[in-house]
Amino acid sequence: MGRKRKLTIGGMLLQIPFLLYSATIVAFCLLLVATPFRSTDDLARGILVRPNSFTLTNFADSWRNGLGTGVSNSMKLSVLTCLFTALLGGFAGYAFSFLRFRLRQGLYVFMYCGIYISTMLIALPLFLQYRQLGLVNSIFGALLIFIGLRLPFSVYLFKNFFDEFQIELIEAARIDGLSDMGIFFRIVTPLSVGVFSTVVLFNFTAVWSDYLIGLLFLQKQRLMTVMPMIMNIFGSGPMVTQATPLGQGFAGLLVSTLPVIIIYAIAKKHYVSGLMLGSVKS
């Protein structure tokens, strides 16, 4: 299949849907990339007209109006969430794959279900509880939520990966007298760089792209995460009027997209292996 390339009419017709869909994606990206470099006056003429200006002030203004704060808060939360989910998720995955204990199956299914629970469901009860505990508007409080939200999927990826692991290696290490901690750090971790990258990749992207948790739990200007901050810069609300600083908002959109796209370009194969681990295999 597909080892010979023939130019047929069918093959050329097939290009049409591909080109159409690609065109919409390219147009979308052009809009994202070009808009923040245009001046406010230029943008007032509409975003489809040919640009007649080039400016960097949108980025400077946007950064000053909170984008900088949002980026640094989100960066902190994303990195810390990745660290904790990799460590705690790795432990749990290790136990589910290599250790035998009571309720193993039940606890695994319980954690697994967390993948599918809507964030909206936990938002209100947690919000009321956090208000009592004084954890609203605290980075630590938000971090705890992000770690909790990302753990089920992380454990799931780890377990699926470790299930394919050569059990003989673990057995041999045990006979040599290595503790489970030792096995995890010295044997399993070095051989599982792939799955750790995948977990980090998915969790970083998820926390970075979060809107709901940031919106509800980090409401102070200096604590806001990047996505709510961008909406704040836009002036929020679904309907945009001409008065909104479109250029500044788009500068935020572009800056917040960059890390995600860069990571994707570098680590595309980890996305694919994550998908394989996460869904195809089951």
Binding site: M1, A92, L121, G148, I167, M231
Partner: protein, 298 residues
Amino acid sequence: MALSKLATSRKGLLFILPALVIVCFIFLNPIFRMFIFSVEHWKYLRPTGFNGFANYLALLGDRHFYETLGNNGIIIAGVVPCVIVISLTFAQAIFGRMPGYSVYTFLFFIPVVMPDIVVAKILTEVLNKVGPLNQFFNLFGLGYLDRDWLGAPGFSLFSIIASLIWKNIGFALLLFLARLTTVDVAIYEAAEIDGASGSQKYFFITIPMLASTISVYVVLQVIGLMSFLFSYIHVMTAGGPGYSSTVLEYFIYLNTFRLQEIGIGSAAGMILIVITMIVVWNYLFASRKRSRKAGEAQ
């Protein structure tokens, strides 16, 4: 799997304990609380006593609730089949190494990795009454298509569906492609020797091979469309106009955080949980049955 007897019961629990405690606090605890909320009477963010199933009954008597559920159904029915058909076609062609396939696979995944807010916000701009889409239509003499895509009843939900299809094609494509690359090429070669045509190979080999992946995709997508749409709805239409683009998830948000109808919102939340669990349960059950069958076949 051969597990060492050295691995004791307590050690395993110790390894999962930190994760388990956090997951219980972030998932189990709020869901339990939400259930309590749903059987209480609420006034201004304060519970004022048990009131049985009154919240559920109020919900069942609310026509906006049905409109919301209907919208969920319309979104699922609109997005899932479209994405499957489009991505299957794309996956097959890309797997066949059509010219430009590597560029296409890279491009098509961009919408998937883009943060939801970025996609939602840019599409909001594009679909704006004075935005690029309508300008485009007018430029090419299609002025009769010019309308308020997000603000007109009947079109806001349609616009959201179109946006979701646009964003989700890449995910399904990659999923199907990943599965296709694990299919044994020998099967196709054998079929070619037997004189199978391209479409025969497609319908009698590719589709059956992909059946389990398609069902995985359907489950993931249905859950995603039920439970993880907040950013889109909030940014693009805020559920409006009226309730015409509100989905169950957003209905919960509106009732709890906006209207302060905590009891009603929580009751709706419990319904979403039950729906989610039914879908997940069926899925787990089906995949277990499938793997048992595969085990028997070997």
